[in-house]
């Protein structure tokens, strides 16, 4: 029976790990992630979850323990934020290089120094090149649904890669909202028991991840790239299938809102996607042809979808809750990169907003949109990157 609960996105992540019948959890506390692993600890200790819970001494060990467990053939889960994710960095490479379908909730938090516990996406975006699939969620329900979908995707033999399911700290992590938890039997049917691609097996004794010479290394990298391309094809299918079964669907790689006839599309990630929709509603009422596109999957990057979006649009304005110092936001860079070789490419302007938890509302996005529309009227973008609501 479908159960409707009112709970935080972090607890929903815990419910998702339980619904996915995760077998090993290795976790370490960090704000704002902690309530996920607290919830799971409750589930395990009160017998609602048949799983091993390893209370490791660091995030680095959390990821490596997940690698060890996944290599032994079971479904694994962990969660972290910011510094914890950065500490995991080399292990993230090891997980994807070992082709282990670990799923991790990343509760986005700004990186120190200076200390901040508030959200931005620089923690997970800094892990862009680790070979992990990256999802970004806009609400509590999507956090639950995406974790289930992520296992389905990652464990597909055409993929066998790990995934981060990212949700912004506090905006989602600690915010109560209604959400539906589908019937367990239906989830089991959608997400059958994990079948490992390889496993540490005394009857098939191999050295796993041993030294690889230049004659072979590139092929292993190419296979990861192929797996990412496969993931790009599979994600929309899985999203659709999930939608049919459970009634929630997120547009696959990119959630589009009133983009068909839009002159300007606001391109966002995470919760800003919801604010962008509100901004679009308001702007449409005022007669502006504006749409919103939320990049739900950042790795693999939806290059083709972005290019398609641009076909009938005069301008794309990206909003990054992130900055790659010395350049611009990744979303801006990669949006531009997706368009470069196309004829009639639209203008692209990049906005940096909401770093370290600075509030971004629909009104903020409305202002960005209006600024962007000025560029359309003059036919050029004056400033490639604009920081929004910066103190003078």
């Amino acid at each position: 029976m479908v159960q409707t609960i009112i709970d935080t996105a972090n607890h929903l992540a815990g419910y998702a790990a339980k619904a996915a019948r995760v077998k090993v959890i290795a976790a370490y506390p960090i704000t704002p992630q902690t309530t996920i692993v607290e919830k799971i600890a409750d589930f395990v200790e009160n017998g609602q979850m048949d799983a091993e819970y390893i209370r490791v001494e660091s995030e680095h060990s959390a990821m490596v323990a997940c690698i060890g467990a996944a290599a032994t053939g079971v479904r694994t889960f962990t969660a972290t934020s910011a510094q914890g994710l950065a500490l995991m960095h080399e292990a993230l490479h090891w997980a994807s290089g070992s082709r282990l379908p670990i799923v991790m909730a990343v509760v986005n938090r700004a990186m120190g120094a200076p200390w901040s516990i508030w959200p931005d996406l620089s923690d997970s975006l800094s892990q862009r090149d680790t070979g992990w699939i990256q999802f970004y969620c806009a609400d509590n329900q999507e956090v639950f649904d995406t974790i289930i979908q992520a296992y389905k995707l990652c464990e597909d033999e055409k993929v066998f890669l790990p995934a981060m399911v990212c949700l912004e700290g506090f905006i989602l992590s600690h915010t109560y909202a209604p959400a539906k938890i589908p019937d367990q039997e239906k989830i089991d049917a959608f997400l059958p028991e994990y079948k490992a691609g390889w496993v540490l097996d005394i009857n098939r004794p191999y050295s796993h991840a041993n030294l690889v010479s230049p004659e072979w290394y590139m092929e292993f990298r190419y296979m990861i790239q192929e797996a990412m391309e496969n993931a790009k094809r599979l994600i929309p299918q899985i999203d659709k299938e999930y939608g049919k079964l459970f009634g929630t669907e997120y547009g696959g790689l990119v959630e589009k809102y009133m983009c068909e006839d839009a002159d300007l599309v606001m391109v966002t990630m995470g919760t800003m996607g919801s604010d962008a929709k509100l901004a679009v509603d308001k702007l449409r009422k005022e007669g502006h042809k504006v749409g919103a596109a939320r990049v739900r999957v950042y790795r693999p990057f939806p290059t083709e979808e972005i290019a398609k979006l641009a076909e009938h649009t005069q301008m794309l304005a990206t909003v990054d809750r992130h900055i790659s110092f010395g350049m611009e936001g990744f979303l801006a860079s990669e949006t531009k990169a997706s368009l470069f070789n196309r004829k009639d490419r639209p203008l692209v302007a990049g906005f940096i907003a909401g770093l370290g938890g600075r509030d971004v509302t629909s009104e903020t996005i409305e202002r960005m949109a209006k600024k962007a529309m000025k560029s359309i009227s003059v036919g050029s973008v004056k400033k490639e990157t604009e920081w929004v609501d910066l103190r003078e």
């Binding site: 390893i54 060990s61 050295s207 041993n210």
Partner: protein
């Protein structure tokens, strides 16, 4: 207690491995397999065994071997043990096999965490007293006075006493061993295999390449280390300390060879002055007074803490 005749004839360290001639760790790895059989999963961080096992698509290990990050043997083993338990597989022993750098320096956190959690596995630190795989740089296990490429005039600090650090975790079994005493090592591994919880064995494994001695002298080097009392064979079983053969006969100072005999055999100690040697001899003698007390008390965990 196993005898040499009873040792398994099976070879799980396969021919064609890539160890240096005279490699102590390779000799001991072969023995480890003989002691534990092939129902094991070996966890290997960055260390000489990364090379010894051979490159893809080959392997010299006839047991499943998980290569893992330098500092993370304890964590990887924790994950494997947990997953085996979930899969209700009870007859496989998880074994961490790591060098001294990967144990006493960069890997100490993950190992300490795994031990504190009581992870059911055997961890062996094969100690060649430096970062051998990268060409002999100083580690926390390098002894005082030894030349390494990063201590060209000799290390100024003493060797970290890792077995006692592990004993402080109150794990059921801590033991020392040495490549040159194969049956002692085999028996300790077998004992460890039959115990639950974290078992730690610190194996002194001579390294001709780094220690600068002839490749035919590996066994001799280990013996001298033990006979001079610089390396002590003991075990701490459920908190009870016990010296093992032949270290148990060395409480009497006159039975121990002078440490200078050991130093004279290795190029890495060429820079030791007479003063250095006297200083080290004094340290060794002081340590042995403690070992003597532990033995005469018939040992206890309290005594161990006294030593610390």
């Amino acid at each position: 207690m196993v005898t040499i005749k009873e040792l398994s004839k099976e070879e799980y360290l396969l021919k064609g491995h890539a160890a240096c001639a005279g490699c102590g760790p390779a000799v001991s790895l072969r023995l480890l397999f003989k002691a534990l059989g092939n129902k094991i999963i070996l966890v290997v961080p960055a260390c000489c065994t990364t090379v010894i096992q051979g490159p893809y698509p080959f392997t010299s290990s006839a047991v499943p071997l998980q290569n893992i990050l330098f500092e993370s043997t304890g964590a990887a083993a924790s994950g494997i043990v947990a997953a085996l338990r979930q899969r209700k597989i009870e007859d496989i022993t998880v074994v961490g096999w790591a060098g001294d750098g990967g144990t006493v320096d960069i890997g100490i956190q993950a190992l300490s965490g795994a031990a504190e959690r009581g992870t059911d596995f055997i961890y062996i630190c094969y100690d060649n007293e430096a970062y051998g795989n990268t060409g002999m740089q100083r580690s926390g296990a390098t002894p005082y006075g030894a030349w390494t490429t990063t201590t060209p005039s000799g290390k100024k600090e003493r060797k970290k006493d890792m077995p006692l650090i592990m004993a402080a975790h109150r794990i059921p079994y801590v033991a020392t061993a040495c490549t040159s005493y194969p049956l002692d090592f085999v028996n300790k591994l077998r004992k460890a295999k039959d115990m639950k919880g974290t078992k730690y064995i610190h194996l002194l494994a001579p390294c001709p390449t780094g220690w600068r001695y002839d490749t035919s002298k590996t066994v001799e080097m280990g013996r001298l280390a033990v006979q001079s009392g610089l390396w002590v064979l003991y075990e701490i079983e459920n908190g009870k300390f016990r010296l093992n053969v032949p270290s148990d006969r060395l409480v009497d100072k006159t039975k121990r060879k002078p440490v200078k005999d050991y130093f004279a055999t290795q190029g890495r100690f060429r820079g030791l002055t007479e003063e250095d040697i006297q200083r080290i001899q004094k340290w060794v003698d002081e340590d042995w007074e403690q070992y003597g007390k532990l033995t005469s008390n018939n040992a206890s965990d309290l005594a161990m803490h006294g030593k610390i």
